[in-house]
Subunit: 351 residues, 4 copies
């Protein structure tokens, strides 16, 4: 990240689907963003309710009420964020794009380029394959140039963000066995969304740890697509997600077999030297999820235990920030020529 | 709070004792404060260690290393915060004050005006009773005028902040039986400080709830002093603190018997109408500690259950912010003529 | 508790509604109860599912599958536990009682003697007021004799158990001002049941503390009824429940004004000397919820802070055991002449 | 496990070092063990203190006070458990063994057969290498026959128990590439012991997740030794431990590359068919740590994601039970000819 040009531009911003965790997180970040004006927030179920009545943390920061999506004036906005379930943005994006509104989808509708793969994992027919082709995958550290001019950005998933940033330097350098990549990932419970489901209850998820979806998680094809792009060859990935009793946070532990001796610390520090939101820790460090709580930073540490040929990469993000709303704002900043960190310099909350 | 005058003043700030939770919280808030420059942070045990090595959340925000307190150039600062154990600030304050440095003590050395009472509860002889007389108790909503010109501010305790803000309108109005006030208070574990003690271990404090110090907690005389000032008559207070498995947060449930019919909601809204950091919730609401997580706001709700003559006040704060570091920065802002909310507009982190 | 007569009796036991937290807790306790044979467990939604598939903790202990309630042979059982939502047991109890089956309702259908009061708080018409009159309120420490011969037991609520056991010695002794009793109660999240509701989500309830239902909770009339019986005069009670991030546990902090000097410690120790499941802690102690985790014990401590005339009683229970399933088994033991602690000597799990 | 022969034997049992978490857990299990009489519990720092004053959960179950270790009559006992820090048991075991007392060490003194390896990892000179040679590694599922006649048992570490039970069928069958075994392990905070250390504080460990000791953890050589024995050839293991905000529980996720097609589910079910304390879950399941909370069971699930050649094994234990005190009691039962599950049939506490 570099260009910190000052600007007085005030973007008119809409959020479609503002009552979930990515929605409230967008509100937190955008409510103090110096170049954004929250203009519309939609919710079908809660139309008319003041946002700050639902989320008292926003009292004094957000004065809007939720609007019925059928009545929302989205076309007057500069950018619309979709913080909706999968399958919604693909129904509405074309109309907005046609009217010159730029779209950032925080769901999965535009993340996977191969339509049959998407349809298999998400269990529905895609409404607009042509827009998938046009969409830019919004991982700035990988696709910054394309994001700058994108009309439609597919904001990456939370696990995919942490895993891809962790593996990227290794794969770009071509120094590991790409047939046996392992991503052992642990997520806080907010990753399941603000949905009334028994497994996400406090009395179910607290003081408990488990793996889930070992045989196949929707983020697997998204990650594989990204890693394949980086490696420029098909990769073999085993991805095991776990649920851990955190509110926020993802920790990934990545394993790969080194095929040639390399100064890994230097490789990572070099690759991310200019990235504001990727922090390579000193050799020997162990990143903690709380060190990025509430922040858009991804912290990474590189290990080669016992001097074996096994590389172990540790990466942490806040799943709601760099794994969702923060990265979406970062993408907005890039798309509109703002300094990439505008509105995102929130110091992590520790303890 | 009112005067939002712009200023370009950059205060040189020192923190004595920066390795505890109030210390790191001061660092979090001051590192992005537009009118403060962190100049010195002392720690006897960790001199030479980079602050960001101890608290990785501050990487990129704080470049300082801890300084040995014997070598720290405190006298060159505009203001010194003491985030030290009780009994330290009273040893060092006079020298600083003499040199024109203003002092904000986050410990208890200057909070209680009656020296024998202080000495009884804190178990030591006070080093400078004359400075206690001169010190201003730093609860802005009560003492703003005096804070403006104070050289030495005694920053209130965490429980005392939440309890006093909760009771203040009732006592100032003289409408409750002051002989039977009850404060049932619940605190997160960070209130015990960043000290290696068995009762504060995760495996002791998680999934557990208990009262403690029912027969007498050090914050009792501090609260009683404040309530007596508000009521202008001696009060009878029962104060029961509890430990609850939160990292941050205090919730107080206050009980008082009403002696005359009053529109309590109007009373509270009126009393705090101009206070930026006290938020009176709508009638019937229940404030949550997470609604102020990381923020300097105290939220209050007023209840009169079943239309009895028992008033129940609920107040929540973040014990490390409005209950410690945030209030200290608020006091600094007042002392130096800055807008009171400077550097304190951090949106609470929810979820 | 006294009579530990040996018995070889094996009771046939049914549980109606076995998929909630009180249901699984009944299963845990009854699966190793030496005088009970789990015979039927019903669930409309999960009929056919093996209990141990839903609750893997019971693998090896419970071999049953859930039965459709319409096909369950309840009349062949000696006792039926209703672990159902309010309003179910009152529809089905008469048929069972007529067939000589004894019934223990863990919901609220038979707890409140005054039918209009019950109907007001529970929002439905009562199906069988005559059975309410006949039902025995199953707080053994208060009603043991009546429970022995009861055909229908109303198992107390969780808050009412902790509050009533805490206040009982004071009220029976007639030594406090009954017009101003305060019960400040804190409950773990399992108290809300195994229901998919947003406020009970981990990401909502973890690291958060709040009061709720300050203006009136359904347990208020139940507690008031009990306290009035103990005091033999109407009482004035303020009851404020709170949600705290525990899986299990209730802590109540009870306040009353003493009207005459009394040796409170001796009063409590005397009152509960023969009670296996009430443990009066030494003077000055603070009971922790974890000290009863998984156990049927209520621990109580008595305080008189600062030698004032304010009594502070602290009581803790496991809301799912002494506050629900454990007390139900205790009642079953009494009803069938078993030693009262049969199957209930589970050492609390600490840490 | 099979022989459930009844016995009236009452073993006299001593615990050296009873104030840590493995100590209190031994007390919980032994206090209701039908064939054990708790006779002595030592603690240098807390001699004279009633056990139940320190651990109120044991009120009514343990009447002993802690004894000064210098005055403890250990030689009169049948068996002595060492729940002490590393390096203590090796100083005292010989004297006890000479007097015919059997010894079970819950620390690491006798776990590693290769003395230089032990001395390197534990940083001290071993006091009795000959006893190491004589000691039996107390993993019953691997060494049951030897344990039966052992005088000195080295109780396995918590991680080693979960990892070895997970890998054992694969390695015994010789069907995976032993050069690239990965054990990604997650532990609750009680694994760090009841020691006053800052990283174990609630405010540090709650709502936080991190790896630690990636470059080398003391359990690595213990696990490698066990896996090598199973595989009958040296293995290459990468072991990454993580800290997760649980009180109790270990979850391991194990990765190995299959070298020949195998019915893995049948392999595991067959291998553990007669093991009371290893539970192989149905195909496709994901074990949760809470499903073994408070219990001596290890639950295992076997996965082969996406039909690749990568095997993923999930295993969970309660680190204080099967990972420490419970396994120690299991070993005692075996050593003294008791049914292996005596005193260990505690239903897991869920939720």
């Amino acid at each position: 990240m570099s260009d910190k040009k000052l600007t007085n531009k005030k973007l008119k911003v809409a959020i479609v689907g503002g009552t979930g965790y990515t929605g409230v997180e967008l509100l937190r970040l955008l409510s103090t963003h110096p170049n954004a004006t929250l203009t519309v927030i939609t919710s079908r179920g809660d139309a008319g309710v003041a946002v700050a009545d639902m989320f008292p943390s926003l009292r004094g920061y957000v004065d809007l009420a939720f609007t019925d999506p059928d009545k929302a004036q989205l076309s007057e906005c500069d950018v619309v964020f979709f913080a909706t379930p999968n399958g919604i943005a693909m129904q509405q994006a074309r109309a907005l794009l046609t009217q010159g509104v730029r779209v950032i989808d925080l769901a999965a509708d535009f993340r996977i380029k191969d339509i049959p793969t998407w349809e298999k994992w998400y269990g529905m027919t895609h409404a607009c394959p042509d827009l998938v082709a046009q969409a830019v995958y919004g991982l700035p550290e990988m696709n910054r140039a394309a994001i700058k001019t994108a009309q439609l950005v597919a904001n990456p998933g939370c696990y995919p963000t942490a895993v891809q940033l962790g593996f990227m330097p290794l794969l770009e350098a071509g120094i590991v066995d790409v047939d046996y990549l392992i991503a052992d990932a642990k997520s806080g419970v907010s990753g399941a969304g603000r949905k009334a489901e028994i497994p996400s209850l406090f009395a179910e998820a607290a003081d408990n740890f488990k793996a889930y979806a070992v045989n196949g998680h929707r983020h697997l094809p998204e990650i594989s697509q990204g890693l394949t792009t980086m490696a420029n060859v098909n990769v073999g990935l085993t991805f095991v997600p776990h649920l851990t009793p955190l509110i926020r946070g993802i920790h990934t532990t990545l394993y790969a077999k080194l095929t040639q001796p390399t100064d890994l610390q230097a490789l990572y520090e070099g690759r991310y030297a200019d990235e504001r939101f990727v922090d390579v820790l000193p050799s020997g460090a162990h990143p903690e999820t709380r060190s990025v709580r509430g922040s858009n930073v991804c912290r990474i540490a590189v290990h080669q235990p016992q001097d074996s040929d096994m590389v172990v990469i540790l990466s942490v993000i806040d799943n709601l920030v760099k794994g969702a709303a923060g990265q979406a704002v970062q993408n907005m900043n890039i798309m509109f020529g703002l300094a990439e960190n505008t509105g995102l310099e929130v110091v992590p909350l520790l303890p």
